[in-house]
Symmetry: C2
Subunit: 312 residues, 2 copies
């Protein structure tokens, strides 16, 4: 397996990315190659400075960087020597099996749509996040920001995408899919969720268990939480405050620690023809390490053909 | 001052309501009368059983109850001997200064619209909730469920309502109003928040400080958080999990305790011509006590004429 990492992506790149790669390298088996995409001289210098050899890495040089404030579509089209552009070329040609970046989410999405493309039948790909449940397991929350304005049929597809992700990445049998709503009853909600409920009810495409509310997010009622990207983004960021608040209150707790973004390991883009993981812009070395390990799990789950099969 | 309490409202009525009234009575001065609306014989029996006299109370008999699963509009029109119907008659005729209930939110809203009515100029009244900030203060979050589908001009009005509430109930000078969104930049958001931002920008009606994100909800960046009722309801219920999770993890912390719904004391309905507070259906005696004390604060703030003045 070959995992591509955008070494130039993220607020603390390339330093944090190289450190994270070294941490991941220490736990990955030899048959996995880490393909580091970025300024070659700088990467070699950093590896050396951190006391690491080049064994187990392959370095692909890129001379440009897409910055966080660049216009995503313009930057992707014009900066053809950037790490993100080159990463997607490698992914498209099969030279890497998955591509992870803590760089510009916009440019990563543009790259995905321009190169590996959406799976036919998918209306809108989605970014999914992991939500730590109080029982120790994880729920999948989607969408968490890609599609702030959704139609009911898009939410329906998120039920399918989330289900497949839960089944093949988290190994949950018949994942329970819940619609995030403002009441448990069928007739509750806004225009979007009321219509989505009617589409999901009795679905044979996934195991729909009905509405869940804000109080249920961390419980073990569901394995997949479906909502539009506006709501999902706010829910995810509010969930992240659990760790922040516990630190401010000087509470040390294993469960609250799970909300530390470092452990998330990035969010996969679901519904495209390849394995792409997008990390937090503020990723440090531990976050990058976990993003690489998560990319391995996503590659192993081999979702794109399974999703394609579903939408044939 | 005369505070009306629906003794028949809530899952543990009338027992919890009478106990809560007794707890409130112990801390309220003599010039405040608690008007208990409900089954008179039952109330007298409960007061006696709990070792309390009738001093400081006035009991208004009601022979019907609007149940949680009754159709709100039908029930309010037909059950004219119910505690909610009678409570609104008392409010309308000025025999009570404020009305609090942990009963059917739907029937309480129907009652408000049929009797005391919206303030002219208000497109949609709102239910506001208190969000405990990490610095010890409280932010106002609105709407938390009344209007799951909002237009930009409704959000704009929520900026005004929240500001007046923050200023006169929480005594905050020039409250900072934030728009809950999925990015800090002006161009971020869904269709609704992008349009609302343009309306709010440069407003002279309130002190708009821009977008806030899910990570900022408990920080001291703003005093008023504006969002539609769908998002607000989920944010509020997710905030309530802070207390629930801290209990499950056996964490005892003063800040996390503030998320216990018992302390909320109910949510005020803003934008109507009187003082109405709606409590949690599961309210116990402490929650009812705090709802009564909060009703006193809201009556003291005397918001309806101030809101009317604004919308003239």
């Amino acid at each position: 397996m070959r995992i591509g990492l955008d070494v130039m992506g993220g607020d603390y790149a390339p330093d944090a990315a190289v450190s994270g790669a070294i941490l991941a390298r220490q736990v990955l088996p030899d048959n996995i190659t880490l393909v580091l995409i970025g300024d070659k001289a700088r990467i070699e210098e950093l590896l050396k400075a951190k006391g690491s050899t080049s064994a187990g890495y392959e370095i692909i040089h890129s001379s440009e960087v897409i910055e966080m404030n660049d216009h995503p579509a313009k930057a992707f089209s014009q900066k053809t020597q950037s790490s993100i552009f080159i990463g997607y070329q490698l992914l498209l040609s099969g030279k890497i099996d998955g591509f992870a970046s803590a760089g510009s989410t916009g440019a990563m999405m543009v790259g995905a749509m321009y190169t590996v493309k959406s799976i036919p039948g998918i209306i809108r790909p989605s970014i999914a996040a992991s939500i730590p449940k109080i029982n120790g397991q994880s729920a999948v929350l989607l969408d968490v920001g890609l599609n702030p304005d959704c139609k009911p049929d898009i939410l329906y597809q998120y039920g399918i995408l989330g289900s497949l992700y839960s089944e093949f990445v988290y190994k949950i049998q018949k994942p329970r899919v819940g619609l995030l709503n403002i009441g448990s009853e069928e007739e509750k909600g806004n225009i979007l969720t009321k219509a989505a409920f009617q589409l999901m009810k009795g679905s044979s495409d996934f195991n729909f268990v009905g509405n869940i509310e804000g109080t249920d997010i961390f419980d073990d009622n569901v394995d997949v939480i479906v909502c539009d990207g506006f709501v999902g983004n706010i829910v995810l960021k509010q969930a992240e405050t659990l760790y922040k608040l516990s630190c401010e209150r000087k509470i040390k707790d294993e469960y609250f620690d799970r909300f530390n973004y470092e452990n998330y390991g990035g969010t996969p883009v679901l519904g495209i023809n390849s394995n792409v993981i997008i990390g937090h812009g503020v990723s440090n070395d531990i976050a990058i390490k976990n993003m690489i390990l998560h990319t391995r799990d996503v590659i192993n789950a081999n979702l794109p053909p399974k999703i394609s099969e579903f939408f044939k």
